[in-house]
């Protein structure tokens, strides 16, 4: 038995799924364990699967299965394989980066004959942990096990024999052992094939040992047996398979005939009740219900007759003749080639890859952001989202860890998004400081997830903002290099919001420690670095930080709206877009409006964004939200200002930018000022404050004007100056757009971050980033 670096044969059984199959083949290029071949068994397919496979030449073994029968197809793959281990994965799934490496580690134990890992359903609309561990009985009863087999130490069914099982899309066997038990029973054309094998494998005294690692990411696709995410599937095939399984395995396990028959009747009856329920819930039509009922009974009886009266259809123990292509078995064609390592990352949902050519292997990066769109639209979340998207478009693999109400995984906008619930299991001693208690626990939960991602996905670096010190525990553990994107410090925000509690004080302290202990700092501007030096007294050496500016995806030229000097419309529109809170300078803008209107009476103001008066203390102090404050303080200007509330991302925001003539954001502090870039994207001049990183983004007098913070008078003058000059409106807008294209695109950002990450990884663990 070869236990040193076993060779794997990955067997894929496919029918009519060329697109997901191509995605899987792309993903396999990225496996960390290179010693594997790919065996593809194609059923009676009607799409372009064969044309697709022609492109792969002899990199893959391609076989045909004459029927749409999974058992037959799996056996054909098994017999044509030449690896020590056969690993089965569905054509609509992709493996984690270290899938085979993890499985190989398990097979290092020579007594283990089979294993498999967990399965995540990663479709954005249906994310869940599909399979962790499982138990299966000789009477076709199944129990899902979420965390430990000990949950069901006495399984709740009626059978006397229970075995562990894997899911068909993530299971691996020693080839010799699988052939020894006759491979798959070819009666199973769909479902129960993997559980039946698990039962026979165990009865034969072999060790089947699933684990809670080595995940496969599943994106279920429709097939001839089911329409995915609907109730339109051939339930009766399940009935037939389960009844047959109960008869065969029940008999082999010594169950009495009467028990087996009773169980079979229960299975058929249960499916009949299911059809009634589906009909009652309007999930299927009346016609479908009748079809289901008739098929349930006939299929169930068919399964019983086959089970009781006919022998199993297995492959002979010597490997068999039928379908055993000895020439294929003899050859082992390693799938990966010299180009595999340089392939860009693949979107597992639609198979898309970035349109780039890489000169170095892509990185595997993990971004931390407790807030992440679409559920949260805070600044850090949006930056992280943009960064993730840009990194994917530059070919890298990106994982994001964010908060969620339960554990799940999706793939969105170029990133694997791992949602983790914040479990308050640690640091009880900080319960009296609720903010600290929560943030420390979240940071620890993040660290737990990071360890999983190292094991399964081979992440190489952690990128976290300093905000709420999410990566603190990971950083202290030293498990991976942690870089910190510096954003507005908590110690800056707390006084602005009037919060001087002990809880906030300690949070600020932890932010300082987090920054001090980072492997590398990524301030988005020089100003951010200077500010943090002032606040926290952190003075990094030149090789300990890099300026890493953000960037956005430029809109096409036809979507920009520079000011038209020929236009007949005389009314002008000024846009404010951001949270309505003191820090964003909303009060200063309110106080500037009367003066602006005096100079430019045909001006309208659009105030867009969520009111944050309940969080920044304004409501508490004044008893009013911001809109009420404006309307009471300046009632005569009420008709000139539109409060439109929070505006969703995408088209609604785009319309706001396009329709305005001038963008204003008089924030008291911005570490960078992404909002200005977003306005510049549409060729709009901008007015901001000469604070933080804003002057590094907005070129005063060229792309807009900057004034001192908290100076409503100067703000009004600046707005009026630009509004009253059509040439300035046009030229500053055009210059802003040009500045964006030259310095602040997503591609600039991705290239810069990737270069920095690569240097840090090389510096910290030179040989470890393959």
């Amino acid at each position: 038995m070869n236990t040193d670096s076993p060779r794997f044969s990955i067997i894929i059984n496919t029918i009519n799924r060329a697109q997901p199959l191509q995605t899987l083949l792309c993903a396999l290029e990225k496996q960390s364990y290179p010693d594997f071949e790919v065996v593809i068994v194609v059923g009676p397919t009607k799409d372009n699967t064969m044309e697709l496979l022609d492109n792969y030449g002899d990199r893959v073994k391609v076989l045909r299965c004459p029927s749409a029968n999974l058992g037959v197809s799996r056996n054909i793959g098994l017999l044509a394989s030449s690896g020590d281990i056969v690993a089965y994965i569905d054509d609509d799934a992709v493996p984690s980066h270290r899938w085979l490496e993890q499985l190989a580690g398990i097979f290092e134990d020579p007594w283990i004959g089979a294993t498999g890992g967990i399965v995540y359903l990663i479709h954005p609309n249906h994310p869940r942990l599909q399979h962790s561990l499982g138990l299966f009985s000789s009477l076709a009863e199944q129990v899902d096990v979420r965390s430990s087999w000990l949950e069901h130490l006495v399984p709740p069914g009626i059978a006397t024999q229970w075995v562990t099982r894997m899911m068909g899309t993530n299971m691996a066997y020693r080839r010799a052992d699988l052939i020894d038990i006759g491979g798959f029973d070819e009666f199973y054309e769909w479902v129960y094939d993997e559980t039946d094998v698990a039962m026979r494998f165990t009865i034969a005294g072999k060790i089947l040992h699933p684990v809670k690692q080595a995940p496969v990411y599943h994106v279920p696709a429709s097939s001839h047996n089911r329409q995915v995410f609907t109730y339109n599937l051939k339930w009766w095939l399940q009935t037939r398979a389960s009844v047959y399984s109960a008869v065969k395995n029940g008999t082999a396990s010594g169950e009495s005939r009467s028990t087996i028959i009773r169980r079979c009747m229960n299975l058929i009856h249960g499916h009949l009740l299911l059809s009634n329920q589906f009909l009652h819930d309007n999930k299927i039509s009346s016609l479908q219900a009748w079809q289901m009922r008739i098929n349930e009974v006939t299929s169930g009886l068919h399964g019983m007759v086959k089970g009781f009266s006919f022998p199993r259809k297995l492959i002979p123990q010597n490997g068999g003749q039928a379908g055993d292509d000895t020439s294929m078995k003899a050859s082992f064609h390693q799938y990966q080639n010299g180009y595999s390592a340089f392939m860009p990352s693949v979107d597992p949902i639609n198979g898309r890859q970035a349109n780039v050519r890489l000169s170095e292997p892509p990185l595997r990066i993990c971004l931390l952001s407790r807030d992440f769109p679409p559920s949260d639209k805070g600044g850090v979340g949006r930056q992280t989202h943009m960064l993730a998207k840009a990194l994917f478009e530059s070919g890298q693999t990106v994982h994001v860890i964010t908060k969620g109400d339960r554990e799940r995984l999706t793939f969105r906008d170029g990133a694997y998004v791992h949602e983790i619930p914040t479990r308050l299991e640690y640091y009880e001693q900080y319960k009296h400081l609720p903010g600290m208690y929560y943030l420390l626990n979240h940071s620890h939960n993040v660290y737990e997830k990071v360890k999983d991602l190292i094991l399964n996905d081979g992440i190489q670096i952690i990128d976290s903002s300093n905000y709420q010190f999410e990566g603190l525990v990971t950083s202290l553990s030293g498990i991976l290099p942690v870089v910190i994107r510096l954003v507005t410090a908590m110690r800056q925000i707390a006084p602005l919001n009037g919060d001087d509690s002990d809880d906030k004080r300690l949070q600020g302290e932890m932010e300082r420690v987090f920054i001090e202990r980072a492997n590398h700092l990524l301030p988005n501007t020089h100003a951010t670095l200077r500010t943090l030096q002032g606040i926290y007294g952190v003075h990094p050496r030149e090789d300990q930080y890099s300026i890493a500016t953000y960037g956005i995806e430029p809109v096409p030229d036809e979507k920009t709206r520079p000011y038209d000097l020929q236009r007949s419309e005389k009314n002008l529109k000024v846009l404010f877009l951001g949270r309505l809170e003191k820090r964003k300078g909303i009060i200063d803008l309110f106080h500037a409006i009367p003066s602006v209107v005096k100079h430019a009476p045909n001006t309208r103001f659009v105030i867009a964004g969520a009111d944050n008066s309940h969080n920044d203390g304004f409501l508490e102090r004044t008893g009013m939200d911001y809109r009420s404050y404006f309307e009471r303080t300046f009632p005569e200007y009420k008709s000139m200002v539109d409060f439109v509330g929070e505006v969703p991302d995408g088209e609604p925001q785009e319309q706001l930018y396009q329709s305005c003539d001038l963008f204003v954001a008089p924030s008291l502090y911005e570490s960078f000022g992404l909002i200005y870039i977003e306005a510049m994207n549409y060729a709009k001049p901008v007015i901001g404050c000469n604070t933080g990183g804003v002057p590094e983004v907005v070129e005063h007098g060229v792309t807009g004007l900057l004034v001192d913070p908290q100076s409503p008078k100067a703000l009004a003058e600046a707005i009026a100056t630009v509004l009253c000059s059509p040439v300035l409106l046009r030229d500053m807008g055009m210059a802003g757009r040009q500045r964006l294209l030259t310095h602040f695109t997503a591609a600039h950002m991705a290239n810069n971050f990737t270069r920095i990450y690569r240097n840090i990884i090389t510096r910290n663990s030179g040989a470890d980033h393959q």
Binding site: L150, W162, G205, I207, G254, K451, S477, L480, L506
Partner: protein
Amino acid sequence: MKRKLSAEDVIKDIEFELAQGVPPKDNLGESIEAVRQFQNKLRAELDISNTGSPSRQSIGRLLQLNDMLVTLLQETAVAITQLQLTQQLQIRHAHASTRALLDQIDTDAIRISEHIAKIDEVTKSKSLFVAIDPQRSAIPIIGRWISKLRQALHGLPLYYVRILASKQTVVNQAFSEEYGYTLNEITELRQRVNDLELRITHPESTD
């Protein structure tokens, strides 16, 4: 006056949490296979398809008990496998804090003792005891002889149950020996992991 909490206090607490991981250990494959093979051999040897037999219930329960024991062993093996994976990583990331990596072990899954107690309880429970309790005959005169005959007939399956019980004892002994062996192995491996960690984090002290 009570001292205010500082960042250093919090760091100490975090480092304490990071140091909590406890590694268990090792290769259970052989023992699991031995128990399973014996179990399956027993299934094949004993006719348990006769539902009318009073011994069937007992045999079924005994076999179920064995399945539980094997499951328990296998659960331990899961934790051990995770340890093996962690160790590989530990070596790859020798520069990093090894103690933190050891946390990979799912310590919740190793709360074995309470489950051992559970199995013990099932083993000792009266559910495995099959009493001879034939129905008494109410027929006058010959009823007493009929009752004696019934008693004798019920004694026959009991004879086989006793044989089974003696075989089951062998299974239980094998299990207990293997488990004891495993626990020893776990302790040894834990020591080896600690040594390894020491060598990685303080190479100078072991040179």
